[in-house]
């Protein structure tokens, strides 16, 4: 009898142990360390809320928050709109859909670091082929990753290029819309826009929600591409002083929240403060998720 009660737990054990060891424990220790001054090498010293209080008056933190919010506000919606658009186009194709699906998906397979390096070189003013091509058309290309005004839009371009992962998910969702609904709508005299607005969109709404939540969380943690783009564009790809000296290049325009977190933690040895930043990031990501889920329920009128 007792054995039977234990059975489900034994089956659950691998997952539970995983959650406790790799999520619960690190989270709790991050919360603990966020109240300390800690450098990995000496015993943490309890400082209460000092780290959190500092966050209000840290100009680099504010700058990194501004950059990160910019990325969230621009990259996430554009990626979703782009992925929906592409998947709709693919469903309209009578021939070669498989071919284009593969072509659009391929960039998503490129490792982010390699893709970023390639992008920076392609867009490099003076030597890159993109501006050379634009010059032929009589257009003077921008400085892309070398301009503080263009560096974030360039990162967005990079994000849109690697849209394949999201496109595949939307493609599945769009293909999953029952054909009978479209037929019924067509009988009622709905045009293409109506069919999209009143049939496709409500049906794929849960997928949009999923894409928004994962997109926001992913963009809040935006690190690799910003770090690599800054480093390559600055022309100092290998410096003895370590990569963080070129973080945010040019003029701090690509300096995202996780880059500052990494710098204070692993370059300035302020792991207490870095942990406080990590906890704040976790709280924000959680809050955004909760709000999005609530709003989505309100919109769809579902109450499960």
């Amino acid at each position: 009898m007792r054995l039977r009660r234990l059975t489900p737990w034994t089956f659950l054990a691998p997952a539970l142990i995983g959650i406790v060891v790799f999520f619960g424990y690190p989270l709790l220790s991050a919360v603990y360390f966020s109240f300390t001054k800690f450098d990995l090498l000496t015993v943490p010293e309890w400082v209460g809320l000092a780290n959190y209080r500092r966050m209000g008056e840290d100009p680099y933190l504010l700058q990194s928050i501004r950059n990160t919010l910019w990325m969230v506000a621009v990259l996430v919606p554009l990626r979703i709109v782009g992925a929906i658009g592409l998947s709709l186009l693919l469903t309209q194709l009578r021939r070669g859909a498989g071919f284009f699906r593969t072509i659009f998906y391929l960039p998503a397979l490129a490792p982010p670091v390699a893709a970023t390096i390639a992008f920076v070189y392609l867009l490099k003013p003076g030597t890159g082929p993109v501006n050379a091509f634009l010059a032929r058309l009589g257009i003077e290309g921008p400085l892309w990753f070398n301009s503080p005004d263009w560096s974030k839009p360039s990162l967005v371009l990079l994000g849109l290029w690697g849209i394949g992962d999201l496109m595949i998910i939307f493609l599945a969702a769009v293909l999953g819309v029952p054909a009978s609904l479209y037929e019924a709508a067509a009988l009622d005299g709905a045009n293409a826009w109506h069919r999209f607005r009143y049939v496709t969109l409500p049906t794929i709404q849960p997928v949009i929600l999923f894409a928004t939540v994962t997109g926001v969380i992913y963009t809040l943690q935006y690190f690799d591409q910003a770090a690599v783009a800054g480093s390559i564009a600055s022309g100092q790809a290998v410096t003895g002083g370590g990569i963080s000296s070129s973080f945010g290049f040019p003029e701090g325009s690509t300096f995202t929240y996780p880059l500052w977190l990494y710098t204070v933690g692993f370059r300035y040895n302020a792991l207490g403060y870095a942990n406080a930043m990590a906890v704040a990031l976790f709280v924000v990501a959680l809050a955004v998720t909760v709000i999005l889920l609530r709003r989505a329920k309100a919109f769809s009128g579902e109450e499960q």
Binding site: L41, T42, G126, G235
Partner: protein, 441 residues
Amino acid sequence: MNKRIPPARKSLVAAATALLLTAACTPAPKEQKIADPGTEVSGTVELWHFFTEREAAAIDTVIKDFTATHPNIKVTVKPGQDDSKMTQAIGAGNGPDIGLSYSTDIVGKFCSSGAWVDLAPYIARDKVDLNRLNATTRSYTEFGGKRCAMPFLADAYGMFYNKDLFAAAGIAAPPKTLDELAEDAKKLTVRNKDGSLKRVGFLPLFDFYENAAAHLAPAVGAKWLTADGKSAVGADPAWKTLLTWQKNLVDWYGYDNLQKFRAGLGDEFSADNAFQKGQVAINVDAEYRLAFVKDQAPNLKYGVAPLPTSDPARYGGGYVTGNIVGISKNAKNPEAAWELIKYLTTDDKTIVKLANALKNVPTTTGAIGDPGLQVEPEFKTFMDIFANPNSLTSPPAASGPAYQETFGTFVTNWQSGKVKDLDAGLADADKQINSVMTLGG
């Protein structure tokens, strides 16, 4: 047991309890015990270093020499390790016996936290004469009066100039003062018809290649930190001299022109390096550039010289930094570790061999004067810069490079014109730096 304690005593007891508690929380410094002089050293010692490929092979040869003369000591070498890995390993209690790092940034933290042990007892026991070490290298291997590292070869920074372009512009000798540098830079600059830059005499942007503020500081003798470890950038007028000079030159080119020109230049460590391609006529760089030029641009006619200065009396120096080596606090075999460090950092013949192989500057007076050292004329210039008393380094701090990088942000804002009032800006930078520095250790 419950005796009444008079109020005055009460606070005393409380204070004592608090003291005891804090003492209990911070681990008492482990008493460092070292062997008596003459004790035979043996066992295995593990060395972590950051070199790879050709350079790692050079280290291996020297280690082989060491084990030949010290048959009782076995050395395990782990190449390609970086500082953060070493920090984590030491924090987790299994750091390597010896760590060899490329960055003096860690000295402050490793000394103050005790992650690397104090080498003073070993130095005293074995009667190692530290005065044989170059003074600048001595300064960046200790922190707060604690010597926890030894210098392992060094880098010296100076000025590279393109002799062909100098001849074409009718300039006879390399600039010695900042004014001459600006003048020559203007003469050497070539513009396109539309006003954009075709070639730049000297590219003064602080985030270009090796133009970091630390590398240019010796031009004006600027100080980073006060004696008590606070930011000195606002108080030291030398910074103002450098920044004003720099901004004037930036404005002569036009900031946007420079940005555009720089965006088209190749990567610093690629064959497309702008100096090697003649796109920039004068460049600040270190002695390791000599090997790159030899390899990537063998036909380039160039010369090297010390950094131009604001005051001619201070001419001759440049920026100096180097690799460092130390013993982890949880080293399993500190005695053997010290034996190897002593061999690598104080034995002249070994240093000469390493300097010849890695093309870095040797750090002991004996090695510098050794006839076995391969000294081409250009390399000699860097050795002179290295030995010059006007040379400066970036001082160790518990928060690592925080002060330099915070100032780096300020100077990029300055050169782009975002900072209008330099005095107010520098005062603000002081505040920022002091604030960032209290975050860490």
